[in-house]
Structure formats: C-alpha cells, structure tokens
C-alpha cells in the first residue's frame, strides 16, 4: 500500500514537514518496495484558502491509502475521511524512521482535525 508524508526534502532521509496543506511537497512511499514518488505542492502552499483541501486531493489522486502528518486541518481531514484514507499522527522525524513505525503499526490514528482552518 502507499503512504503519503508532507516532506521537507526529496528523499526518505528527509524530515517530515510540520505542516500539511502548506508543505512544499509530499513523498508517497510504497510499503512493499520502499520506492517512492514525489508530488510537488507549490501551487497549494501559497493558496489563500483551501490549501489543505487541494493537497488532500493530490495525495488521494496519487493513490495513497494512508497519510502521516503532524497536523490535519478540518477540511483536509473531511476529505480524507470521506475518501476512506487513514490519517495517522506523528512527530517530526526522518520519513524512513516513520515508515518503520508505520510497518510496526505504532502510529496512532487521528481522531479529528487538530488545527483550525484558515479562511481568506
């Protein structure tokens, strides 16, 4: 299965980005092969409103079935919930470490959005 991470860099050694909708890019990692795909998020990172919604849409379109982030805004959370994508919470760490934790099944499920939305 494929897992998406907001990323500060472009490979698995980079850190998880603390933001979701306004992260610079996402890494979508295949849990079987450990290969990954990079989705640039530049258009959304600067959006006045709805950045989380569009980022969620991009991650879903890339085929992710789970997403790992420090925070989730209410609208992005709504999109994931409707699409049946698992939302998992993690602290900032290298993405390769988070993949290990994911495989061990120790990343907690997010119960709801923890960030207020931004209107514009």
């Amino acid at each position: 299965m494929k897992i998406a991470f907001p990323a500060t860099g472009t490979d698995l050694s980079c850190l998880l980005d603390g933001r979701f909708g306004r992260a610079p890019r996402f890494l979508v990692v295949d849990s079987e092969t450990n290969s990954y795909q990079t989705i640039e998020n530049d258009g959304n990172a600067d959006a006045s409103q709805g950045a989380g919604i569009q980022s969620a849409q991009a991650v879903i379109a890339a085929g992710a079935t789970a997403v790992v982030s420090v925070h989730f805004g209410p609208k992005a959370f709504q999109v994931f919930e409707k699409a049946g994508i698992k939302t998992l919470q993690a602290d900032i760490a290298p993405i390769s470490d988070l993949m290990d934790k994911f495989r061990q099944g120790v990343l907690p499920r997010m119960q709801g959005p923890d960030k207020a939305g931004h209107a514009g």
């Binding site: 959304n44 709504q78 994508i85 209107a119």
Partner: protein, 287 residues
C-alpha cells in the same frame, strides 16, 4: 447623481456625516448604507416600516450519479472550494465559494447545479415619509461583502430622488472599491490625526486609481490650520467642510443623536454642500 462617502480609516465620522447629509437633504436625496460588515446608519435613522430582501448566492451542488470525477471543476475553481475525494467523489465547501458559477459552466456532464445560500439581507425603510434608507447587511461569517454591496446599490428606490448617497465601507480594499466604483464623486471624511492622514492618502491613491473625482471633509477639526487642512492645502485637495472638535458632538453621537441635533446650523451648510457637489458633477443645479 451618486455620491460615495468614504474614509480610509474607520471611526472618522463617515456615517455621522452621511446621515447628517441625508437628513438635511431628505427632499432630494436617499441614503444607501454600503458598510455591510458593520452597517450603522439605521442606528441614527429610526422609524418607518421595513421591507427586507434576502441576498442569495449560488453555490454548486453535485449530482453524484452524473459526476464522473473528471476534475474539470476542481482545477477551474480559483477558490479551492471543490475537491475530489477519490472513489467517494466530489466534495463542495460552500464557505470557500465566491459564487462565480464557473464550475457549473465547465462541467461537461451537467452534474453540478445551483443551490441558494444566504449571504446577506437588504432592508429598506422610509423614515417620516420622506427619507429613504437602504441598509445592506452581510451574514456573519460570509466571505462575499461585494455581492451584498451590489445588491444594496441595485435595490429599487422607494422614493424618487435626484441624489443617492452611499455610506461606503471603511478601508481601501475590495469592498470599498466595489462601492466607490458605482459613484460619480467620492467624499472622503478624515480626522486631523497622523492615522487619519496616512489612511486618507491611501484612500486617495485608490480613488485616483479608479479615476474618480473626490473631495475631503475634515471631522473633529481644530480650525483651518489643523494637520489635515495643511495637508490638503499642500496637496491641492478641495476641502468641502470642517466639523469642529466639540465634546457635545461626541456626547450627542453617543446618545444616538445626529450632527443636526448637536448643531442645527449644520442643516443649511449641508444643503449648500450638496448643491456645490451637484454643480461640480453635473454642471448645473439639482432640479
């Protein structure tokens, strides 16, 4: 003739002035309160039966049986108000929607239709049978002030009057622009403080960008040598009127009274002021 009464900064006495101007000219002017975020003129102009008209906006609604998730609408929307949630299909976020209608037009499958949501209300009243007040009021939490301003300005007049006065929103952003844009002349109300002058200059820059003629009224003035008067003289800006700084005016206002209650001689001056403006805009008297 349409006159917008505006001010870069809030709290300069813009509404006080437009209410007094309308009261003194009630036989020939009507007042439209375009400060839809915080309409205030009705607090000083009471009475009369009110007719209320809702302002609707159209947000999209999806018919899931027709939507094939092609993504045309989501990539078209400039406001990120639509999203595809994988196999669960299209989601709409009405609170982000600016009612442009584009998604409905681009959908190749006619899967989107319009659903009405309330953005504000327009209230119209005639006070003592002579003065018409139209008030636009934005729904709390709604993003579309310009829509409600347009509806207030376009609301059919209850009385035939030569002049319409717009009480414009403060600031210099889109709400301000969408009101001033509709006027023939803009009167800027300022106070002689550094904040007032700074914001007056911003408002002037905005108005010059729209090529609108304008003039200035100085509120809480300490005479013709105060900060604002000197500033206007230096920049060659016409000053229509000075309203003196007096505690009884502030107290009268705080009790819901108008400028005319605080100083009855103001009536004649405000009539002359409107005559002058009409001459300036139309080249002749108000007939």
């Amino acid at each position: 003739m349409k006159i917008a009464v505006a001010s870069g900064k809030g709290g300069t006495g813009k509404s006080t002035f437009s209410v007094a101007l309308a009261l003194a000219n009630r036989d020939r002017a009507r007042l439209v309160d375009c400060d839809v975020e915080e309409p205030n003129a009705h607090l000083f102009l009471r009475g009369g039966e009110s007719t209320s008209t809702p302002v609707w906006a159209s947000v999209p609604e999806v018919d899931a049986s027709l939507c094939d998730a092609c993504g045309k609408c989501t990539s078209f929307c400039q406001y990120n108000a639509l999203a595809l949630a994988g196999s669960a299909g299209l989601m709409v976020f009405p609170e982000l929607c600016h009612d442009c209608g584009g998604c409905i037009l681009v959908c190749p499958n006619k899967a989107l239709s319009e659903r009405k949501v309330l953005r504000g209300t327009i209230e119209s009243r005639v006070i003592d049978g002579t003065l018409e007040l139209v008030t636009g009021r934005l729904e709390v939490g709604s993003p579309s002030a310009p829509t409600v301003i347009r509806a207030a300005i376009e609301n059919p007049p209850a009385l035939r009057r030569r002049v319409t006065i717009f009480d414009a929103p403060p600031g210099t952003a889109c709400s301000f622009a969408s009101c001033v844009h509709q006027a023939d002349h803009c009167v800027l109300v300022t106070d002689p403080t550094p904040f007032g002058l700074h914001d007056l200059d911003l408002a002037i820059e905005a108005i010059q960008g729209m090529s609108k003629p304008f003039s200035v009224v100085i509120n809480r003035s300490n005479g013709d040598d105060d900060l604002a008067s000197r500033h206007c003289r230096r920049r060659g800006i016409p000053v229509l009127m000075r309203i003196p700084e007096r505690r009884e005016i502030a107290e009268c206002y705080s009790n819901g009274g108008s400028l005319l209650d605080a100083d009855p001689s103001m009536g004649e001056r405000l009539r002359a002021l409107l005559d002058d403006l009409h001459f300036h805009v139309s080249g002749g008297p108000i007939l």
